[in-house]
């Protein structure tokens, strides 16, 4: 039987890991739910953000937080450019899977060409920093990632819920023709949302650079679990994505602590399958 400290530590670790899942899921959930684009390139953008943070940090000695200030707006622009491309070629929900998969593969090749396939690790003083809360240690970087995810998710939720643009985006996702009849300029709003999704990928990339190991193939490492988070959280639902991230992160972590680490990957998909069976209307 695991000790209470071990369980407590597993809950904290899982909660914080779930924050990063939520942060990665945020942009994907928005573009899938409100733009009807299943953007697999989101993962590649996040990893590109991670590599750029690494590059700025190691080559130019820029602090990761300064790098984020540079990268997030740049990724916003990149997101808009990508959406212009999708709009130009009339990419639909189904074809977006293929197109964005292609973009992800191209980005993976670009990353490998520039940084090689070898592992990269961004060593910073923050990497091992933590503080003690009772008997449990709280890692600082993961906590900061989690707080960032929570802030962005709540702000995005409020933006979608209370502003005209947010309401227009939701209306256009529901019925583009009727929304258009009411004067909603979906094209402009879609560009904004696409830019925002990519900016979230850039922000997630900064944390990935600080927390994880970088290798080009890592693009695909997050795909399964983040897809599960997006679907469980509900498409286009930022707070749902965050809560689903917490749920998956904690479930995986507790499974690792109580049963065995090898069982952890099964958890997210078991929850997803359970949801599809018992609450199919949620998806």
């Amino acid at each position: 039987m695991p000790s209470a400290t071990l369980l407590g530590q597993a809950v904290v670790s899982g909660l914080l890991a779930g924050g990063l899942y939520g942060l990665l899921a945020l942009g994907l959930s928005l573009s899938w739910g409100l733009l009807r684009l299943v953007n697999l390139a989101h993962f590649a953008l996040a990893l590109l953000g991670a590599y750029l943070t690494y590059q700025l940090g190691t080559a130019l000695h820029l602090s990761p937080w300064v790098a984020a200030i540079v990268l997030v707006p740049a990724f916003f622009g990149l997101g808009i450019a990508l959406h212009l491309l999708f709009a130009r070629f009339r990419v639909t929900e189904f074809t977006s899977l293929l197109v964005t998969f292609g973009i992800a593969v191209i980005l993976e090749s670009v990353i490998q060409w520039f940084w090689t396939a070898d592992y990269r690790r961004y060593e910073t003083p923050y990497a091992s920093a933590s503080f003690k809360l009772g008997p449990v240690f709280v890692p600082l970087l993961e906590l900061f990632a989690c707080l960032t995810a929570a802030t962005l998710a709540l702000a995005t939720w409020a933006w979608l819920r209370f502003t005209y643009v947010g309401k227009a985006l939701r209306a256009a996702a529901e019925d583009p023709a009727i929304a258009g009849a009411f004067g909603v300029d979906h094209r402009r709003h879609a560009l904004l949302l696409s830019g925002l999704s990519a900016a979230y990928a850039g922000a997630a990339g900064t944390f990935i650079a600080l927390i994880a190991t970088l290798a080009p193939s890592q693009i695909w490492a997050w795909l399964g679990v983040v897809f599960a988070v997006v679907i469980i959280g509900g498409l286009g639902n930022p707070v749902g994505a965050l809560l689903a991230g917490f749920l998956i992160g904690m479930s995986e972590s507790i499974t690792m602590a109580v049963v065995a680490p090898a069982w952890a990957p099964l958890v997210s998909f078991s929850i997803l399958i359970g949801l599809l069976i018992f609450r199919p209307e949620r998806v």
């Binding site: 695991p2 000790s3 400290t5 071990l6 530590q9 597993a10 904290v12 670790s13 899982g14 914080l16 890991a17 993976e108 090749s109 490998q112 940084w115 090689t116 396939a117 070898d118 592992y119 990269r120 690790r121 060593e123 990497a127 091992s128 920093a129 933590s130 003690k132 240690f137 890692p139 993961e142 994880a212 190991t213 290798a215 080009p216 193939s217 490492a221 997050w222 679990v225 992160g249 995986e252 972590s253 507790i254 690792m256 602590a257 065995a260 680490p261 090898a262 952890a264 990957p265």
Partner: protein, 395 residues
């Protein structure tokens, strides 16, 4: 008169060069490497090693006086693709010889193809000898026939020789086949030696969150942590443990990415195993003195962060040496003749003398224990192979 003599000297020099330069149809050696995908970081080192070997071969007299061409394809870290590509290399590209891909699963997948076409199959990174049943496979990952017993024994012998031998071992391993196989063996060996094993955990290849695993290792609080690590697993686990304010007294990493562990602050005194390091007596092995500087230069040019040569690159270079030795000794490209010769003879390579006459064509376990000391890997066990002045730390 002087001019005529000079012209004669130049002519003779050209003639000598022409005689040494390989000519005729190139000998095509086919193989795959994981140039993309999760195994690509290490496969890149094998690619550089192979390219250098072939270039140097062609600068000399090639093979049997003919130039050598390496037909290299990308198996994308997928064993099923490696299998198909070897089929293509043999039946469509009609290569003369083949050389193995990187890593256990790919090597095993392609071994069936080599067997079907009776091709000599030299490979460099196979970690599960009991599964290699093909009579013409020749491994240069010199684990010996039972690495699940011999590798842990070497490691436990090394730490047992210190003034504070461990009494307990926590084992955490990737489910990657060769890592799991040897780590499972480590558990059995430890128990047989009377060591307690308070923790044995397996995790999936590609695990992202190390917090809970670190908490369990801390809870077990063993004297030695054995990590059946691949790539950066060990770095990430050490980092996660540090966040819990815990550093294991000793930590061993089975297949780590060598560079990042040396560079990481938590990597101090990390233990691992090796067949080659850049210090005596290894630098006296055939080919080492010439190959090491060229590899360093080429790896730096390829933007590889850690350019020191160790197990992977050593094994890769040795595979080419074995293939060359077989062809040169038999003066032929006949797979059966080369295979028969290799089974009967020892080959002196950069990682030591290899023989293929044991169970499943495995010879001796050549692995030694190395440790991160003063920012570099040095061999610390057995004593006759230790780097000058090095001792296993902490004593």
């Amino acid at each position: 008169m002087m001019r005529a003599a000079l012209a004669l000297v130049v002519l003779l020099a050209f003639a000598a060069a022409a005689a040494a330069a390989p000519s005729g149809q190139p000998i095509r050696i086919g193989g795959t490497l994981a140039l993309t995908g999760p195994l690509a970081p290490t496969a890149l080192l094998h690619k550089i090693a192979g390219e250098i070997y072939v270039e140097e071969l062609n600068k000399a007299n090639g093979l049997l006086g003919r130039p050598v061409e390496w037909v290299l394809l990308d198996d994308q870290s997928k064993p099923e693709l490696a299998r198909s590509l070897y089929e293509k290399l043999i039946t469509v590209d009609k290569v003369d010889l083949i050389i193995g891909p990187y890593a256990t699963s790919g090597i095993l997948a392609a071994m069936g193809v080599a067997q079907r076409y009776n091709k000599v199959y030299v490979h460099h990174s196979f970690g599960m000898p009991h599964l290699a049943k093909y009579e013409m496979h020749f491994p240069t990952a010199a684990f010996g026939p039972e690495p699940n017993k011999t590798v842990p024994t070497t490691v436990f012998d090394a730490v047992a020789a210190t003034s504070k031998p461990p009494k307990s071992v926590a084992i955490v391993t990737s489910k990657f086949p060769s890592a799991q196989f040897q780590s499972n063996g480590a558990k059995e060996v430890a128990e047989k030696r009377g060591l307690k094993v308070p923790l044995y955990l397996e995790y999936e290849f590609g695990t992202r969150d190390w917090g809970a695993i670190a908490a369990r290792v801390k809870d077990a609080n063993a004297d030695l942590l054995w990590i059946g690590a691949l790539g950066l697993d060990g770095n990430q686990l050490l980092e996660a443990m540090k966040k819990l304010d815990y550093t294991p007294p000793r930590h061993f990493h089975l297949f780590p990415a060598p560079g990042p562990l040396v560079a990481a602050p938590d990597g101090k005194n990390a233990l691992s195993v090796t067949v080659f390091e850049e210090h005596p007596p290894f630098m006296n092995n055939p080919g080492a003195a010439k190959f090491v500087p060229i590899f360093k230069e080429r790896a730096a040019k390829a933007n590889v962060p850690y350019t020191a040569i160790e197990t992977q690159v050593g094994g890769s270079f040795a595979a080419w040496q074995v293939l060359e030795a077989g062809v040169t000794a038999t003066k032929s490209l006949d797979d059966k003749a080369i295979g028969a010769w290799l089974r009967k003879n020892r080959v002196d390579t950069i990682i030591g003398k290899l023989r293929f006459d044991g169970p499943n064509n495995y010879g001796d376990d050549l692995f030694k224990v190395k440790q991160v000391q003063d920012g570099k890997w040095v061999v610390v066990w057995p004593r006759e192979f230790t780097a000058p002045g090095a001792r296993l730390q902490p004593q």
